[in-house]
Protein backbone atom coordinates (compact mmCIF):
# COMPACT_ATOMS: atom_id res chain seq x y z
CA UNK A 1 0.00 0.00 0.00
CA UNK A 2 1.38 3.38 -1.01
CA UNK A 3 1.41 5.86 1.86
CA UNK A 4 2.83 9.10 3.14
CA UNK A 5 6.36 7.73 3.47
CA UNK A 6 6.49 6.77 -0.20
CA UNK A 7 5.63 10.28 -1.25
CA UNK A 8 8.05 12.09 1.02
CA UNK A 9 10.90 9.75 0.20
CA UNK A 10 10.14 10.39 -3.46
CA UNK A 11 10.23 14.12 -2.74
CA UNK A 12 13.56 13.72 -0.95
CA UNK A 13 14.98 11.91 -3.99
CA UNK A 14 13.81 14.68 -6.31
CA UNK A 15 15.11 17.35 -3.95
CA UNK A 16 18.57 15.82 -3.82
CA UNK A 17 18.68 15.41 -7.61
CA UNK A 18 17.83 19.10 -7.95
CA UNK A 19 20.44 20.05 -5.39
CA UNK A 20 23.03 18.00 -7.23
CA UNK A 21 22.20 19.77 -10.47
CA UNK A 22 22.49 23.16 -8.82
CA UNK A 23 25.89 22.27 -7.39
CA UNK A 24 27.41 20.32 -10.25
CA UNK A 25 26.33 22.25 -13.35
CA UNK A 26 27.79 25.38 -14.86
CA UNK A 27 25.09 26.49 -17.27
CA UNK A 28 22.78 29.03 -15.66
CA UNK A 29 19.70 27.70 -17.48
CA UNK A 30 20.36 24.18 -16.26
CA UNK A 31 20.86 25.49 -12.72
CA UNK A 32 17.49 27.23 -12.98
CA UNK A 33 15.96 23.91 -14.10
CA UNK A 34 17.54 22.16 -11.13
CA UNK A 35 16.05 24.77 -8.81
CA UNK A 36 12.65 24.09 -10.38
CA UNK A 37 13.11 20.39 -9.60
CA UNK A 38 13.87 21.28 -5.97
CA UNK A 39 10.75 23.43 -5.75
CA UNK A 40 8.69 20.64 -7.32
CA UNK A 41 10.07 18.25 -4.72
CA UNK A 42 8.88 20.63 -2.01
CA UNK A 43 5.47 20.74 -3.69
CA UNK A 44 5.21 16.94 -3.75
CA UNK A 45 5.97 16.90 -0.02
CA UNK A 46 3.47 19.69 0.66
CA UNK A 47 0.65 18.06 -1.28
CA UNK A 48 1.36 14.68 0.32
CA UNK A 49 1.28 16.23 3.78
CA UNK A 50 -1.91 18.01 2.83
CA UNK A 51 -3.48 14.69 1.84
CA UNK A 52 -2.24 12.59 4.76
CA UNK A 53 -1.85 15.01 7.69
CA UNK A 54 -4.53 17.65 7.24
CA UNK A 55 -6.91 16.30 4.58
CA UNK A 56 -9.70 18.70 5.55
CA UNK A 57 -7.72 21.92 5.58
CA UNK A 58 -5.81 21.82 2.27
CA UNK A 59 -3.08 23.96 3.86
CA UNK A 60 -0.33 22.12 2.02
CA UNK A 61 -2.03 22.59 -1.32
CA UNK A 62 -2.35 26.31 -0.71
CA UNK A 63 1.32 26.50 0.22
CA UNK A 64 2.10 24.71 -3.06
CA UNK A 65 0.14 27.33 -5.01
CA UNK A 66 2.37 30.02 -3.53
CA UNK A 67 5.51 28.04 -4.26
CA UNK A 68 4.45 27.86 -7.91
CA UNK A 69 3.85 31.61 -7.98
CA UNK A 70 7.31 32.27 -6.63
CA UNK A 71 8.86 29.75 -9.02
CA UNK A 72 7.35 31.53 -12.00
CA UNK A 73 8.55 34.91 -10.78
CA UNK A 74 12.05 33.60 -10.13
CA UNK A 75 12.32 32.06 -13.57
CA UNK A 76 11.07 35.22 -15.26
CA UNK A 77 13.62 37.39 -13.48
CA UNK A 78 16.35 34.79 -13.91
CA UNK A 79 15.84 34.62 -17.65
CA UNK A 80 15.79 38.40 -17.88
CA UNK A 81 19.20 38.48 -16.21
CA UNK A 82 20.48 35.72 -18.50
CA UNK A 83 19.34 37.69 -21.54
CA UNK A 84 21.05 40.82 -20.19
CA UNK A 85 24.22 38.80 -19.73
CA UNK A 86 23.95 37.39 -23.25
CA UNK A 87 23.69 40.91 -24.68
CA UNK A 88 26.92 41.93 -22.99
CA UNK A 89 29.00 38.92 -23.72
CA UNK A 90 27.53 37.60 -26.96
CA UNK A 91 29.45 34.47 -26.23
CA UNK A 92 28.59 30.84 -26.66
CA UNK A 93 28.16 29.80 -23.09
CA UNK A 94 25.16 31.83 -22.15
CA UNK A 95 25.29 32.56 -18.49
CA UNK A 96 28.06 30.15 -17.84
CA UNK A 97 28.62 30.40 -14.14
CA UNK A 98 30.46 28.40 -11.57
CA UNK A 99 28.52 28.95 -8.41
CA UNK A 100 31.10 27.28 -6.23
CA UNK A 101 34.09 29.21 -7.50
CA UNK A 102 35.00 31.88 -5.01
Amino acid sequence: MVGLQHYIILSAVLFCIGLYGALAKRNAVIILMSIEIMLNAANVALVAFSRYVTPQLLTGQIFAVFVMTVAAAEVAVGLAIIIALYRQKEKVDVGEVDLMKW
Partner: protein, 482 residues
Protein backbone atom coordinates in the same frame (compact mmCIF):
# COMPACT_ATOMS: atom_id res chain seq x y z
CA UNK B 1 -8.95 48.25 11.47
CA UNK B 2 -7.12 45.93 9.10
CA UNK B 3 -6.32 48.89 6.87
CA UNK B 4 -4.83 50.80 9.77
CA UNK B 5 -2.72 47.83 10.86
CA UNK B 6 -1.44 47.34 7.33
CA UNK B 7 -0.73 51.06 7.06
CA UNK B 8 3.08 51.10 6.90
CA UNK B 9 3.29 48.35 4.28
CA UNK B 10 0.27 49.44 2.27
CA UNK B 11 1.52 53.00 2.02
CA UNK B 12 4.82 51.84 0.59
CA UNK B 13 3.21 49.53 -1.95
CA UNK B 14 0.96 52.38 -3.11
CA UNK B 15 3.89 54.76 -3.36
CA UNK B 16 5.84 52.18 -5.34
CA UNK B 17 3.04 52.05 -7.90
CA UNK B 18 2.72 55.83 -7.88
CA UNK B 19 6.44 56.30 -8.49
CA UNK B 20 6.24 54.20 -11.65
CA UNK B 21 3.32 56.24 -12.92
CA UNK B 22 4.96 59.51 -11.96
CA UNK B 23 8.06 58.43 -13.84
CA UNK B 24 6.02 58.56 -17.05
CA UNK B 25 4.79 62.07 -16.36
CA UNK B 26 7.79 64.03 -15.09
CA UNK B 27 10.96 65.01 -16.90
CA UNK B 28 12.83 66.09 -13.80
CA UNK B 29 13.69 62.70 -12.28
CA UNK B 30 14.82 64.17 -8.96
CA UNK B 31 11.13 64.48 -8.10
CA UNK B 32 10.92 60.68 -7.96
CA UNK B 33 13.50 60.49 -5.18
CA UNK B 34 11.67 63.16 -3.20
CA UNK B 35 8.38 61.38 -3.77
CA UNK B 36 9.78 58.02 -2.62
CA UNK B 37 11.22 59.62 0.50
CA UNK B 38 7.83 61.18 1.24
CA UNK B 39 6.32 57.70 1.02
CA UNK B 40 8.94 56.27 3.35
CA UNK B 41 8.47 59.12 5.82
CA UNK B 42 4.73 58.50 5.66
CA UNK B 43 5.36 54.85 6.40
CA UNK B 44 7.54 55.76 9.39
CA UNK B 45 4.77 58.10 10.53
CA UNK B 46 2.21 55.33 10.24
CA UNK B 47 4.45 52.97 12.23
CA UNK B 48 4.96 55.54 14.95
CA UNK B 49 1.23 56.24 15.05
CA UNK B 50 0.63 52.52 15.59
CA UNK B 51 3.35 52.33 18.28
CA UNK B 52 1.86 50.68 21.33
CA UNK B 53 -1.11 49.13 19.56
CA UNK B 54 -1.20 45.39 19.55
CA UNK B 55 -3.10 43.95 16.68
CA UNK B 56 -3.58 40.53 15.16
CA UNK B 57 -5.51 40.31 11.94
CA UNK B 58 -6.12 38.32 8.77
CA UNK B 59 -6.53 34.89 10.27
CA UNK B 60 -3.77 35.39 12.84
CA UNK B 61 -1.21 35.94 10.13
CA UNK B 62 -0.53 39.62 10.50
CA UNK B 63 0.81 40.62 13.88
CA UNK B 64 1.46 44.25 14.67
CA UNK B 65 3.47 44.63 17.84
CA UNK B 66 6.34 46.90 18.88
CA UNK B 67 8.81 44.35 17.49
CA UNK B 68 7.29 44.59 14.02
CA UNK B 69 6.97 48.36 14.18
CA UNK B 70 10.57 48.81 15.32
CA UNK B 71 11.72 46.94 12.23
CA UNK B 72 9.31 48.89 10.02
CA UNK B 73 10.96 52.11 11.15
CA UNK B 74 14.45 50.62 10.78
CA UNK B 75 13.84 49.41 7.20
CA UNK B 76 12.18 52.65 6.11
CA UNK B 77 14.96 54.77 7.64
CA UNK B 78 17.60 52.64 5.90
CA UNK B 79 15.72 53.00 2.61
CA UNK B 80 15.62 56.80 3.00
CA UNK B 81 19.38 56.96 3.52
CA UNK B 82 19.93 54.66 0.55
CA UNK B 83 17.75 56.78 -1.72
CA UNK B 84 19.52 59.96 -0.61
CA UNK B 85 22.85 58.28 -1.30
CA UNK B 86 21.65 57.10 -4.72
CA UNK B 87 21.28 60.61 -6.09
CA UNK B 88 24.85 60.63 -7.38
CA UNK B 89 24.29 57.25 -8.90
CA UNK B 90 21.09 57.71 -10.86
CA UNK B 91 22.68 58.91 -14.07
CA UNK B 92 24.17 55.45 -14.41
CA UNK B 93 20.69 53.95 -14.36
CA UNK B 94 19.99 54.76 -18.01
CA UNK B 95 16.52 56.17 -17.56
CA UNK B 96 15.18 53.55 -15.19
CA UNK B 97 15.07 55.77 -12.12
CA UNK B 98 11.37 55.23 -11.53
CA UNK B 99 11.76 51.46 -11.47
CA UNK B 100 14.85 51.76 -9.27
CA UNK B 101 13.00 53.68 -6.57
CA UNK B 102 9.90 51.50 -6.96
CA UNK B 103 11.93 48.34 -6.43
CA UNK B 104 13.59 49.78 -3.33
CA UNK B 105 10.13 50.57 -1.96
CA UNK B 106 8.86 47.08 -2.85
CA UNK B 107 11.86 45.41 -1.22
CA UNK B 108 11.20 47.48 1.88
CA UNK B 109 7.54 46.44 1.82
CA UNK B 110 8.61 42.81 1.73
CA UNK B 111 10.96 43.28 4.68
CA UNK B 112 8.21 44.96 6.69
CA UNK B 113 5.92 42.02 6.03
CA UNK B 114 8.70 39.66 7.08
CA UNK B 115 8.89 41.36 10.45
CA UNK B 116 5.14 41.46 10.99
CA UNK B 117 3.89 38.01 10.15
CA UNK B 118 3.77 34.83 12.16
CA UNK B 119 2.84 32.33 9.53
CA UNK B 120 5.21 30.34 7.34
CA UNK B 121 3.52 30.89 3.97
CA UNK B 122 3.48 34.65 4.54
CA UNK B 123 7.08 34.60 5.72
CA UNK B 124 8.12 32.69 2.61
CA UNK B 125 6.28 34.93 0.19
CA UNK B 126 7.38 38.20 1.79
CA UNK B 127 10.96 36.94 1.92
CA UNK B 128 10.68 36.20 -1.79
CA UNK B 129 9.25 39.66 -2.47
CA UNK B 130 12.32 41.12 -0.80
CA UNK B 131 14.74 38.76 -2.50
CA UNK B 132 13.38 39.12 -6.02
CA UNK B 133 13.42 42.91 -5.76
CA UNK B 134 17.01 42.73 -4.55
CA UNK B 135 18.10 40.31 -7.31
CA UNK B 136 16.88 42.84 -9.83
CA UNK B 137 18.50 45.76 -8.03
CA UNK B 138 21.81 43.89 -7.85
CA UNK B 139 21.81 43.51 -11.64
CA UNK B 140 20.43 46.98 -12.26
CA UNK B 141 23.53 48.57 -13.80
CA UNK B 142 23.54 45.99 -16.60
CA UNK B 143 27.30 46.09 -16.95
CA UNK B 144 29.27 42.86 -16.82
CA UNK B 145 29.98 42.87 -13.09
CA UNK B 146 26.53 43.95 -12.01
CA UNK B 147 24.73 41.43 -14.20
CA UNK B 148 26.94 38.65 -12.98
CA UNK B 149 26.28 39.73 -9.40
CA UNK B 150 22.56 39.68 -10.11
CA UNK B 151 22.73 36.22 -11.70
CA UNK B 152 24.80 34.72 -8.92
CA UNK B 153 22.60 36.26 -6.27
CA UNK B 154 19.48 34.99 -8.00
CA UNK B 155 20.72 31.43 -8.52
CA UNK B 156 22.16 30.96 -5.05
CA UNK B 157 19.23 32.82 -3.49
CA UNK B 158 16.76 30.56 -5.27
CA UNK B 159 18.61 27.42 -4.18
CA UNK B 160 18.53 28.67 -0.61
CA UNK B 161 14.85 29.53 -0.76
CA UNK B 162 14.13 26.08 -2.19
CA UNK B 163 15.91 24.63 0.84
CA UNK B 164 13.92 26.98 3.06
CA UNK B 165 10.59 25.99 1.55
CA UNK B 166 11.45 22.31 1.86
CA UNK B 167 12.23 22.90 5.50
CA UNK B 168 8.93 24.70 5.93
CA UNK B 169 7.18 21.75 4.26
CA UNK B 170 8.77 19.34 6.74
CA UNK B 171 7.83 21.54 9.70
CA UNK B 172 4.29 21.77 8.37
CA UNK B 173 4.10 18.04 7.78
CA UNK B 174 5.23 17.16 11.29
CA UNK B 175 3.19 19.77 13.15
CA UNK B 176 0.12 20.04 10.96
CA UNK B 177 0.13 23.81 10.65
CA UNK B 178 1.90 26.83 9.27
CA UNK B 179 1.02 29.29 12.03
CA UNK B 180 3.84 29.66 14.50
CA UNK B 181 1.28 29.22 17.29
CA UNK B 182 0.01 25.92 15.86
CA UNK B 183 3.57 24.71 15.39
CA UNK B 184 4.38 25.56 18.99
CA UNK B 185 1.33 23.64 20.18
CA UNK B 186 2.62 20.56 18.41
CA UNK B 187 6.22 21.07 19.57
CA UNK B 188 5.03 21.45 23.17
CA UNK B 189 3.95 17.82 23.25
CA UNK B 190 7.35 16.44 22.27
CA UNK B 191 10.04 15.43 24.72
CA UNK B 192 13.12 14.88 22.63
CA UNK B 193 14.62 14.49 19.21
CA UNK B 194 13.56 10.85 18.94
CA UNK B 195 9.91 11.88 19.12
CA UNK B 196 10.11 13.59 15.78
CA UNK B 197 13.42 13.58 13.92
CA UNK B 198 11.83 14.98 10.76
CA UNK B 199 10.94 18.16 12.61
CA UNK B 200 14.59 18.58 13.57
CA UNK B 201 15.61 18.08 9.97
CA UNK B 202 13.07 20.72 8.95
CA UNK B 203 14.56 23.13 11.49
CA UNK B 204 18.06 22.48 10.14
CA UNK B 205 16.77 23.31 6.65
CA UNK B 206 15.23 26.51 8.02
CA UNK B 207 18.56 27.49 9.54
CA UNK B 208 20.25 26.90 6.18
CA UNK B 209 17.62 28.87 4.26
CA UNK B 210 17.56 31.82 6.63
CA UNK B 211 21.32 31.58 7.12
CA UNK B 212 21.76 32.48 3.47
CA UNK B 213 19.79 35.69 3.92
CA UNK B 214 21.87 36.82 6.88
CA UNK B 215 25.06 35.45 5.27
CA UNK B 216 26.34 33.09 7.93
CA UNK B 217 29.11 30.63 7.16
CA UNK B 218 28.83 28.26 5.24
CA UNK B 219 26.18 30.16 3.25
CA UNK B 220 28.23 33.32 2.86
CA UNK B 221 29.87 32.52 -0.48
CA UNK B 222 27.62 34.82 -2.47
CA UNK B 223 28.38 37.91 -0.39
CA UNK B 224 31.73 39.21 -1.73
CA UNK B 225 30.90 38.90 -5.44
CA UNK B 226 27.40 40.26 -5.08
CA UNK B 227 28.45 43.13 -2.84
CA UNK B 228 31.26 44.02 -5.21
CA UNK B 229 29.22 43.86 -8.41
CA UNK B 230 25.94 45.39 -7.28
CA UNK B 231 25.41 49.16 -7.45
CA UNK B 232 26.96 50.51 -4.24
CA UNK B 233 23.71 51.96 -2.78
CA UNK B 234 22.10 48.57 -3.31
CA UNK B 235 25.06 46.90 -1.61
CA UNK B 236 24.55 49.22 1.36
CA UNK B 237 20.89 48.29 1.45
CA UNK B 238 21.65 44.57 1.17
CA UNK B 239 24.19 44.65 3.95
CA UNK B 240 21.90 46.48 6.34
CA UNK B 241 18.20 46.04 5.69
CA UNK B 242 18.15 42.60 4.14
CA UNK B 243 20.29 41.25 6.96
CA UNK B 244 18.12 42.91 9.60
CA UNK B 245 15.02 41.42 7.99
CA UNK B 246 16.57 37.97 8.17
CA UNK B 247 17.28 38.38 11.86
CA UNK B 248 13.77 39.75 12.45
CA UNK B 249 12.26 36.58 11.01
CA UNK B 250 14.68 34.15 12.64
CA UNK B 251 14.19 35.55 16.12
CA UNK B 252 10.42 35.50 15.86
CA UNK B 253 10.17 32.06 14.27
CA UNK B 254 12.70 30.35 16.48
CA UNK B 255 11.45 31.87 19.68
CA UNK B 256 7.75 31.56 19.09
CA UNK B 257 7.68 28.15 17.44
CA UNK B 258 10.72 26.34 18.85
CA UNK B 259 11.94 28.50 21.71
CA UNK B 260 10.15 27.38 24.83
CA UNK B 261 10.93 23.68 24.87
CA UNK B 262 14.36 23.55 26.55
CA UNK B 263 15.52 20.32 24.87
CA UNK B 264 14.89 21.92 21.49
CA UNK B 265 15.92 25.52 22.13
CA UNK B 266 19.23 24.51 23.66
CA UNK B 267 20.10 22.53 20.55
CA UNK B 268 19.42 25.40 18.18
CA UNK B 269 20.97 27.84 20.62
CA UNK B 270 24.19 25.83 20.59
CA UNK B 271 23.98 25.53 16.79
CA UNK B 272 23.77 29.31 16.50
CA UNK B 273 26.60 29.75 19.00
CA UNK B 274 28.91 27.54 16.95
CA UNK B 275 27.84 29.16 13.68
CA UNK B 276 28.40 32.58 15.27
CA UNK B 277 31.95 31.71 16.28
CA UNK B 278 32.80 30.30 12.84
CA UNK B 279 31.08 33.10 10.96
CA UNK B 280 32.79 35.96 12.75
CA UNK B 281 36.18 34.29 12.53
CA UNK B 282 35.91 33.51 8.82
CA UNK B 283 34.60 37.00 8.06
CA UNK B 284 37.37 38.76 9.92
CA UNK B 285 40.26 36.57 8.86
CA UNK B 286 39.39 36.73 5.16
CA UNK B 287 38.77 40.49 5.39
CA UNK B 288 42.40 41.11 6.35
CA UNK B 289 43.75 40.46 2.87
CA UNK B 290 41.15 42.36 0.87
CA UNK B 291 42.30 45.16 -1.39
CA UNK B 292 38.86 46.27 -2.56
CA UNK B 293 36.90 48.30 -0.04
CA UNK B 294 33.53 46.85 -1.05
CA UNK B 295 34.85 43.32 -0.60
CA UNK B 296 36.37 44.33 2.70
CA UNK B 297 33.00 45.58 3.90
CA UNK B 298 31.38 42.43 2.52
CA UNK B 299 33.53 40.24 4.75
CA UNK B 300 33.09 42.67 7.61
CA UNK B 301 29.31 42.33 7.24
CA UNK B 302 29.70 38.55 7.46
CA UNK B 303 31.64 39.02 10.69
CA UNK B 304 28.93 41.29 12.08
CA UNK B 305 26.27 38.69 11.28
CA UNK B 306 28.36 36.42 13.50
CA UNK B 307 28.27 38.92 16.36
CA UNK B 308 24.51 39.33 16.04
CA UNK B 309 24.01 35.57 16.07
CA UNK B 310 25.48 35.58 19.57
CA UNK B 311 22.17 37.15 20.56
CA UNK B 312 20.21 34.30 18.96
CA UNK B 313 22.41 31.79 20.76
CA UNK B 314 21.75 33.61 24.03
CA UNK B 315 17.98 33.37 23.51
CA UNK B 316 18.17 29.69 22.67
CA UNK B 317 20.38 28.68 25.57
CA UNK B 318 18.52 30.57 28.26
CA UNK B 319 14.93 31.51 27.68
CA UNK B 320 14.96 33.85 30.69
CA UNK B 321 17.48 36.01 28.84
CA UNK B 322 15.04 36.67 26.01
CA UNK B 323 14.36 40.31 26.90
CA UNK B 324 18.01 41.27 27.24
CA UNK B 325 19.22 39.34 24.20
CA UNK B 326 16.37 40.56 22.00
CA UNK B 327 17.04 44.12 23.03
CA UNK B 328 20.74 43.53 22.33
CA UNK B 329 20.00 42.24 18.83
CA UNK B 330 17.67 45.15 18.06
CA UNK B 331 20.15 47.73 19.33
CA UNK B 332 23.00 46.09 17.45
CA UNK B 333 20.99 46.02 14.23
CA UNK B 334 20.14 49.71 14.58
CA UNK B 335 23.71 50.71 15.43
CA UNK B 336 25.31 48.47 12.82
CA UNK B 337 22.77 49.62 10.25
CA UNK B 338 23.52 53.31 10.70
CA UNK B 339 27.26 52.66 10.81
CA UNK B 340 27.40 50.49 7.72
CA UNK B 341 25.15 52.81 5.75
CA UNK B 342 27.40 55.71 6.71
CA UNK B 343 30.48 53.83 5.56
CA UNK B 344 28.91 52.88 2.24
CA UNK B 345 27.62 56.41 1.65
CA UNK B 346 31.15 57.77 2.06
CA UNK B 347 32.45 55.09 -0.30
CA UNK B 348 29.80 55.93 -2.90
CA UNK B 349 30.90 59.56 -2.84
CA UNK B 350 34.59 58.72 -3.07
CA UNK B 351 34.39 56.08 -5.77
CA UNK B 352 32.01 58.20 -7.84
CA UNK B 353 34.89 60.63 -8.15
CA UNK B 354 37.85 58.31 -8.39
CA UNK B 355 36.06 55.53 -10.24
CA UNK B 356 37.80 52.92 -8.14
CA UNK B 357 37.00 50.82 -5.10
CA UNK B 358 40.60 49.87 -4.36
CA UNK B 359 41.85 50.69 -0.89
CA UNK B 360 45.15 51.87 -2.41
CA UNK B 361 43.29 54.67 -4.14
CA UNK B 362 42.16 55.98 -0.75
CA UNK B 363 45.70 57.11 0.03
CA UNK B 364 45.78 60.60 1.45
CA UNK B 365 42.05 60.94 0.91
CA UNK B 366 41.86 63.29 3.89
CA UNK B 367 43.55 66.01 1.84
CA UNK B 368 41.19 65.58 -1.08
CA UNK B 369 37.95 65.14 0.86
CA UNK B 370 38.35 65.94 4.55
CA UNK B 371 34.68 65.58 5.48
CA UNK B 372 34.08 62.33 3.62
CA UNK B 373 37.26 60.88 5.09
CA UNK B 374 36.24 61.91 8.58
CA UNK B 375 32.84 60.29 8.06
CA UNK B 376 34.36 57.07 6.75
CA UNK B 377 36.96 56.97 9.52
CA UNK B 378 34.29 57.54 12.15
CA UNK B 379 32.06 54.75 10.83
CA UNK B 380 35.03 52.38 10.55
CA UNK B 381 35.86 53.12 14.19
CA UNK B 382 32.27 52.25 15.03
CA UNK B 383 32.51 48.99 13.07
CA UNK B 384 35.63 48.15 15.06
CA UNK B 385 33.69 48.77 18.25
CA UNK B 386 35.64 51.64 19.81
CA UNK B 387 34.04 54.43 21.83
CA UNK B 388 32.35 56.90 21.48
CA UNK B 389 30.30 55.15 18.82
CA UNK B 390 27.21 53.03 18.40
CA UNK B 391 29.36 50.03 17.53
CA UNK B 392 31.05 50.18 20.92
CA UNK B 393 27.86 50.26 22.97
CA UNK B 394 26.17 47.67 20.77
CA UNK B 395 29.01 45.21 21.18
CA UNK B 396 29.27 45.66 24.95
CA UNK B 397 25.52 45.31 25.29
CA UNK B 398 25.22 42.20 23.14
CA UNK B 399 28.32 40.54 24.60
CA UNK B 400 26.82 41.12 28.02
CA UNK B 401 23.62 39.34 26.97
CA UNK B 402 25.70 36.39 25.77
CA UNK B 403 27.61 36.35 29.07
CA UNK B 404 24.35 36.23 31.03
CA UNK B 405 23.42 33.09 29.09
CA UNK B 406 26.69 31.46 30.08
CA UNK B 407 28.43 31.88 26.73
CA UNK B 408 31.78 33.01 28.14
CA UNK B 409 33.74 31.13 25.48
CA UNK B 410 31.78 32.79 22.70
CA UNK B 411 32.33 36.24 24.19
CA UNK B 412 36.07 35.56 24.29
CA UNK B 413 35.96 34.55 20.62
CA UNK B 414 34.02 37.73 19.92
CA UNK B 415 36.53 39.95 21.69
CA UNK B 416 39.47 38.30 19.91
CA UNK B 417 37.66 38.82 16.63
CA UNK B 418 37.13 42.49 17.41
CA UNK B 419 40.86 42.81 17.88
CA UNK B 420 41.51 41.19 14.50
CA UNK B 421 38.95 43.46 12.88
CA UNK B 422 40.63 46.55 14.35
CA UNK B 423 43.64 45.73 12.22
CA UNK B 424 41.93 45.94 8.86
CA UNK B 425 39.46 48.70 9.69
CA UNK B 426 42.13 50.96 11.11
CA UNK B 427 44.46 50.16 8.21
CA UNK B 428 41.95 51.87 5.93
CA UNK B 429 41.85 54.86 8.28
CA UNK B 430 45.65 54.96 8.30
CA UNK B 431 45.76 54.82 4.49
CA UNK B 432 43.38 57.75 4.28
CA UNK B 433 45.16 59.88 6.86
CA UNK B 434 48.82 59.05 6.42
CA UNK B 435 49.17 58.00 2.78
CA UNK B 436 50.39 60.25 -0.02
CA UNK B 437 47.50 61.29 -2.28
CA UNK B 438 47.75 60.30 -5.94
CA UNK B 439 46.43 63.69 -6.96
CA UNK B 440 45.42 66.87 -5.18
CA UNK B 441 42.12 67.23 -6.95
CA UNK B 442 39.28 67.84 -4.50
CA UNK B 443 36.32 65.50 -4.56
CA UNK B 444 32.81 66.76 -5.08
CA UNK B 445 29.65 65.18 -3.69
CA UNK B 446 25.99 66.00 -3.99
CA UNK B 447 23.92 67.69 -1.30
CA UNK B 448 21.56 64.79 -0.55
CA UNK B 449 24.49 62.44 -0.14
CA UNK B 450 26.14 64.80 2.34
CA UNK B 451 22.85 65.00 4.24
CA UNK B 452 22.67 61.20 4.39
CA UNK B 453 26.27 60.89 5.56
CA UNK B 454 25.82 63.55 8.22
CA UNK B 455 22.59 61.97 9.42
CA UNK B 456 24.11 58.51 9.77
CA UNK B 457 27.26 59.80 11.48
CA UNK B 458 25.23 61.80 13.97
CA UNK B 459 23.06 58.74 14.52
CA UNK B 460 26.15 56.65 15.24
CA UNK B 461 27.46 59.30 17.62
CA UNK B 462 24.10 59.67 19.33
CA UNK B 463 23.75 55.91 19.91
CA UNK B 464 27.31 55.91 21.20
CA UNK B 465 26.97 58.80 23.62
CA UNK B 466 23.37 58.58 24.74
CA UNK B 467 22.50 54.90 24.23
CA UNK B 468 20.04 54.80 27.10
CA UNK B 469 17.35 56.67 25.21
CA UNK B 470 17.26 53.94 22.58
CA UNK B 471 17.93 51.03 24.92
CA UNK B 472 14.87 52.04 26.92
CA UNK B 473 12.85 51.67 23.74
CA UNK B 474 14.36 48.36 22.67
CA UNK B 475 13.97 46.89 26.14
CA UNK B 476 10.28 47.72 26.11
CA UNK B 477 9.78 45.77 22.88
CA UNK B 478 7.99 42.50 23.30
CA UNK B 479 6.48 39.88 21.09
CA UNK B 480 2.73 40.19 21.13
CA UNK B 481 2.34 36.43 21.21
CA UNK B 482 4.56 34.52 23.56
Amino acid sequence: MIWALLGPELLLAIFALAVILLDLAVKQKGVLAVFSIVGLLGSIGASLALWGTNGIALNNMLVIDKYALFFDVLFAAAAILVILASTDYVEKLKGFQGEYYALILLATTGMMFMASTRELVSIYISLELTSISLYILAGFLKDAKSTEAGLKYLLLGSVSSAVLVYGMALVFGTTGGTHLGVIWNAVKGLNGIADNPTLIMGIVFLVAGFGFKIATVPFQMWVPDVYEGAPTPVTAYLSVASKAAGFAVILRVFFEAFGRAPWLSQSWGMLFAILAAITMTVGNVVAINQTNIKRLLAYSSIAHAGYIMMGLAAVGLMESQLALARSGILFYLAGYGLTNLGAFIAIIAISNNTGSDLIDDYKGMVRRAPVLSLGLAFTLISLTGLPPTAGFVAKIYLFNAALQSGLLWLVIVGVLNSVISAYYYLRVVKTMYLGEPASTERLSSSGPLRVALTASCFGVLFLGVLPNTVIQVTEAIKFLVS
